[in-house]
């Protein structure tokens, strides 16, 4: 199992609602940790997921939260970005 996977959200509000829920579930802010994730989008216009909002899903460590994502979790896709 990968230690980190991702879920894509079609809308900004969808991402924000989930992020808020995850923050509350994990007790963030906590110490030096101010956020769970940063709002990033698929920037490759040739990707079928172009413009979608990316949420990391951690399967390990202090901020494990895979139980907050019941479906739609995928592996990282290099096509999301052009370097």
């Amino acid at each position: 199992m990968d230690r980190k996977r991702y879920k894509l959200y079609a809308t900004e509000s969808g991402w924000e609602n989930k992020h808020e829920a995850v923050m509350a579930r994990l007790g963030i802010p906590d110490g030096n940790t101010l956020l769970y994730a940063k709002k990033e989008t698929v920037s490759n216009s040739e990707s079928e997921d172009f413009g979608k909002f990316i949420m990391p899903v951690l399967y390990y460590g202090k901020w494990r939260c895979d139980d907050q994502f019941s479906s739609g979790v995928v592996d990282w896709n290099d096509d999301w970005y052009h370097l």
Binding site: K4, N32, Y36, L58, K62, W63, W80, Y81
Partner: protein, 322 residues
């Protein structure tokens, strides 16, 4: 004047809060004695002409790096502050010199601390993670020569970013990276819309590549990176002691300051710029180290990390004439 017992003081922040006139302390990170001047309400630092740096109790470098992030001295002093194995790095990694710190305030991008790596040494695991150091942190006035040293290895076939050195706020040196099958480094010059400029490694040795569709184990070997830039802007990249790039004539730095901006990323602004690798240590000198000094690093790395870092994982670093 009363001189109190000389003690080991870790860094500037650890200086006594209520010093008395004439109080003398030894400050470990700058390897100098400091004396408190009550009249000036300041600590006086007497810096020697040469600033030797003790890497491991045996290997003494002629000059002290501007930063040295060592996973086995996470608090910058000793191993008492090292996180537990597999712990999320939600605190601060402090350089052994100059009190420079690195941290990540976003939980989803915090790396993991691990023990039991090469020769039992600890390391920090990055999985699309990075640590922020900050462009205002270090190296004022430095714009030319440098030496970057790191011991790390990437994981799987993902991209590895050693770290980024910022020139002002709009251009970066990506210290070393691995993408696809080869290692390289990149200079994104200022005033060029971040168009990248980097050499191609034309003669990539087989042990430094991952065959297409092949076992990525070769790429996962721990590697020693030394990246140097001389006073004429010529940059060379040494991997496992061997020079892999020569005479890459880069541009002048056109800026007012130079700083380590990120560890494990070339930019903190997107997941595409964060790396997948294991980092044991990294250091930066404000000069081009001599051949003798670079060979000291080889001796040190061979001693600390043991065997198993060549392409087949069976040998020690080759000592070469730089």
């Amino acid at each position: 004047m009363a001189y109190e017992t000389i003690e080991i003081i870790a860094n500037t922040a650890a200086r006594p809060g209520t010093p008395t006139d004439g109080m003398i302390r030894y400050q470990q990170d700058i390897q100098s004695c400091i004396v408190y001047d009550d009249g000036a309400s300041a600590w006086k630092v007497f810096t020697p002409d040469a600033a030797p740096y003790d890497l491991d109790g045996t290997t003494i470098m002629d000059t002290t790096p501007l930063f040295h992030f060592d996973a086995d001295k996470f608090n910058g002093t000793d191993d008492t502050g090292n996180p537990d194995d597999d712990a999320t790095v939600d605190g601060t990694w402090t350089s052994r010199t100059n009190g420079i710190t690195a941290a990540q305030g976003t939980g989803g991008y915090q790396p993991t601390y691990n023990t039991g790596g090469a020769n039992g040494e600890p390391y920090v695991t990055f999985v699309n993670d990075n640590l922020d150091v900050g462009v205002n942190s270090i190296i004022p006035g430095h714009l030319q020569e440098f030496t970057f040293f790191g011991f790390m290895n990437r994981t799987g076939s993902n991209i590895m970013f050693g770290g980024s050195l910022a020139v002002d706020t709009d251009s970066v040196w990506n210290t070393c990276w691995m993408s696809g099958t080869t290692y390289n480094y990149t200079y994104y010059p200022a005033n060029a819309n971040l168009a990248n400029s980097h050499p191609d490694i034309d003669d990539v040795p087989a042990e430094l590549t991952i065959p297409t569709g092949g076992d990525p184990a070769n790429g996962e070997q721990g590697r020693m990176f030394i990246l140097t830039r001389d006073e004429s802007n010529v940059t060379k990249m040494f991997i496992d002691g061997n020079n892999r790039n020569t005479d890459f004539d880069g541009d002048d730095f056109d800026g007012t300051f130079f700083a380590m901006e990120f560890i494990g990323a070339v930019s903190g602004s997107g997941s595409q710029f964060r790396g997948y690798h294991k980092l044991y240590e990294m250091a930066f000198w404000n000069s081009e180290l001599s051949s003798a000094e670079k060979n000291k690093l080889i001796t040190y790395v061979n001693s600390r990390y043991g065997t198993g870092r060549d392409g087949l994982g069976t040998g020690t670093f080759e000592r070469v004439a730089f």
